[in-house]
Symmetry: D2
Subunit: 308 residues, 4 copies
């Protein structure tokens, strides 16, 4: 299988290398600066083997690919009962940054993969101070990698300064009693998490850690209690690709999460972690080449969860 994976990703890499559709996210100025030519595919097995092609060491910010991990952290710290009382687990049919559903329906976020849910989840991360909460979050995320995660402060500042809609969402969450405490701190924590900087190899290892029931295949650290891994994968599967989650399930069939920085990671439970980076995104906020790679890889390596 080793040779098969490497030759497959080499092949798929070349197939899509010249696809220049989409463009880097423009609403956060710092993201707009990404080099649209960057392109990397990395697969990590639960045994710790790494297959890689392209610009796999180029750094990018996690953006929404951070959401499943913070969700796992919150579940582990606060328990399912509390978290489920605050944030639902249903797909929404609306875009990732929608406010409508929050107002019209249950007055709680539909799920932790959309911004409203993720902002709420970040607000629940514990610590004695803002710095302490951030430190705890960085430590948690770093369990999934081989190195300490750091924050890209330029992205953080850029994000913070253009976050009118997220700020609006946070105040509405506060209004409905979903979140409490200092709104600006919670937003900052969310922006910090979105600004966690890593490369495609790192993200692939984070995915492999989920594929390996929460144990980091490289460090053998237990990053997350096994019981919460299924919660995360289930939510990634039904909600991870926002209002294209259904199409993703249909055409890829792998629990996955995308970020507007152009990263997508996917988890084949008990087998592989996969990460793709290519900053040009489509109107749903997904990496254009990332989608193509996952579709091809799933079909050609028979990775869909619904295969026999």
């Amino acid at each position: 299988m080793r040779n098969q994976i490497q030759s497959k990703i080499d092949d798929i890499y070349l197939r899509h290398l010249n696809n220049t559709a989409g463009s880097p996210a423009s609403y956060i100025p710092e993201l707009a600066k990404a080099d649209p030519r960057s392109f990397a595919i990395v697969v990590t097995t639960i045994g710790g083997e790494v297959f890689s092609v392209g610009d796999s060491e180029v750094l990018f910010s996690m953006q929404s690919t951070s959401k499943p991990f913070t969700y796992g952290m919150a579940l582990q710290d606060l328990g399912r009962v509390f978290i489920m009382s605050k944030v639902g687990v249903e797909p929404t049919g609306e875009a990732f940054n929608s406010i409508v559903e929050l107002e019209k329906n249950t007055h709680k976020p539909y799920n932790p993969m959309i911004n409203s849910g993720a902002i709420a989840i970040s607000s629940f991360i514990k610590g004695s101070s803002f710095e302490d909460r951030l430190k705890n979050m960085i430590e948690f995320f770093s369990l999934f990698t081989e190195k300490k995660i750091h924050v890209d402060e330029k992205v953080f500042e850029s994000e913070k300064n253009t976050a009118h809609r997220n700020r609006s969402i946070a105040h509405l969450l506060r209004h409905f009693g979903v979140i409490d405490g200092n709104i600006e701190d919670s937003l900052d924590l969310y922006f910090k998490q979105c600004s966690f900087s890593l490369n495609t190899i790192d993200l692939s290892l984070m995915a492999a850690t989920l594929a390996n029931n929460g144990v980091n295949p490289k460090t053998n650290n237990k990053a997350l209690n096994q019981e919460y891994v299924g919660d995360i994968l289930s939510l990634m599967f039904t909600c991870g690709m926002y209002d294209t989650s259904g199409k993703w399930a249909y055409s890829v069939g792998i629990p996955a999460k995308s970020g507007v920085s152009g990263a997508i990671f996917g988890v084949v439970p008990g087998e592989l972690g996969i990460a793709v980076y290519s900053p040009s995104i489509n109107e749903h906020g997904h990496s254009v080449r990332g989608i193509k790679v996952f579709q091809d890889l799933s079909r050609e390596l028979n990775l869909s969860i619904f295969r026999k």
Copy 2:
């Protein structure tokens, strides 16, 4: 495993036997007559073994449990390109009978598991006449069972006479150009399919046929091309339980479909077909005891798609 499954379903059957929550669907008079005490659990393996407990031979109408099969028939007859151009594959966040999404958004049904999508799909079933179209549909469904499916005409009449909302949906589909031709015929075909009568053993075999890549484990008939089985399972997983699909994925993790008659079937790919019947339903239209059985069975036999 044989003994394990039988003792497990016996155990779960007794556990929920006295749960009297919910009540039979009231909006279709004929369904309201169901005996709320009826309760059956049947598991069929892809090898054709059947494990059964309770009233497994009590007949009921398929209602929405028919939707995945008609969808498969339409895919096989008309191809993915046409079907995808007419009916989406996204979860909606709204109830099964919602019109709102249809008007507000894409002007095509979100997916084939909600009524608008299913009515459209039925309208595409081919034949030289209404009778011929119905005959074709019955023949297709019967490939998944051991006996010829028949229509419960009382349920059909009851359904047809109270179908104001479905009729409204059909005319709006016609307005948006999703469907064409004789609206009443298409609605009648849809109501016929909802009125297909079978028992829990039959439904379990239909599920096992999907688990077995489209080949009926009892008759060895090829009921559906393998390539469309994944399409169906994917849609059942993300949309099969309507606006509780996310919670179902989270707590059960098995592609499944429910009907307001009180039936739910689930598919464990490459392993099992499961069907539960108990007519008392909750406010989302799902069998109350059916949900409990699937939650317990999935957890205790480790059936979630996200288990290693």
Copy 3:
């Protein structure tokens, strides 16, 4: 004032004669055949004086300009309590043919000026048979004119055959229990009323009858009990121009109603009835030249209800 009105409408007529923006309604084939050059302005005083310019004898179908009159008929026949229990009096913020509000909110039509409300109102018109109900409606409408109203059967047929959305609305009204009885009869009655054929002089007299507290200034027939005239004018004012009612109140300030055939009539209580006909409509379904004429006339003759 006599000379002033005539010279004013002559002047405004010429001013807008060459405005060719918009086009005749296309979704009802028979309406699409209207001559876009047709243009008429007629003002009738409560004393029965008529001022007219342009093609004031060209026939057109009433379409939605019929709605306020049917509403008055239903109020007079069935009383405010019943009618208010079935159809609201609030503006909606949505288009005239919206279904969304009906499903999402109160499950009763927002007001009798949008299609859902008007279809409901037509369904309440009494009679021993469909023919009798139609006869009663024609007689009622004819009280507002000098001649017997007749139905343009070509328009009726055209309307009936393309009415998928209205049919959808009617079935949803039936589902929510707003209307009852034979849906097709109620729809037919609604389409008949929309197909009532008259010219701009007639419509201006109908408006003048409302301006004259329900008494026809030409025949002195009491067409409508005075107590219901205010109800109608109030609804025309807040809802008569659909989702542009606010802008109309702002820029014209006269209770008015438009129809997709290109007619608009307005009522200056205690003074004038005004009708304009010009078949090219805008995206809201209002006559393009009709709007211009009313804006100019209101400003230049100081007709807004908010003038001192």
Copy 4:
């Protein structure tokens, strides 16, 4: 008429004195402290005569009764073209504090009478600093009264501290580019305006100033250019009572505006200004006794705009 008005309001006052339905607004703690027994009716003619009954000197905060005046101030300062480009003039069909419409539809507020529109309008008020902007606003408002308006700082603080939803709205307005600059300053200005403190006599005089084409009947100050008075009255008529504006037009027929402090004022153009104060409000945010008084007064003194 003098005797008639006084005896009429005395009569109506007694009729509703013991109506204890509703309760003071609870979501702003300071408003919850209002004495629910307070009740006042004041009518001021355009000749400056004042008819009063009840607690007409009890102070209250203007809340949303301030919105029409700030709208007039913005129109006068910035012109119709700019203001209309930022805030619409359509009724919404949604509650006063809705966010949904803002996101779903035009991305600009439907009208200046709902919170989103009013917050935008306040943000446009000019001045060299926050203090200067507030000073300008106070001076403008004071032109409509006989004394200088002051701010109830306790209400302001209470409002500011519980304004999560309004803060959410403001950030969404910022996101859509409706407003700019310092969000907190704009919100503070809006909260200050809502906290303007006056009594029922004052508010009645403000109404009479609008009835008198913008000239204060007591001081003869020109408070507002005549050309903008109609704009305000038109918006009060179609949107002033939020999602009950249609019913208000129907049953009262007078341009009016209510505030959650329990005040309602109405304008009979060319005749009267009317103000009622009674702090117990209903679920729409309108004074319960205020509505009753206006309904009776309109019917019994024949004040509806649709009377002949």
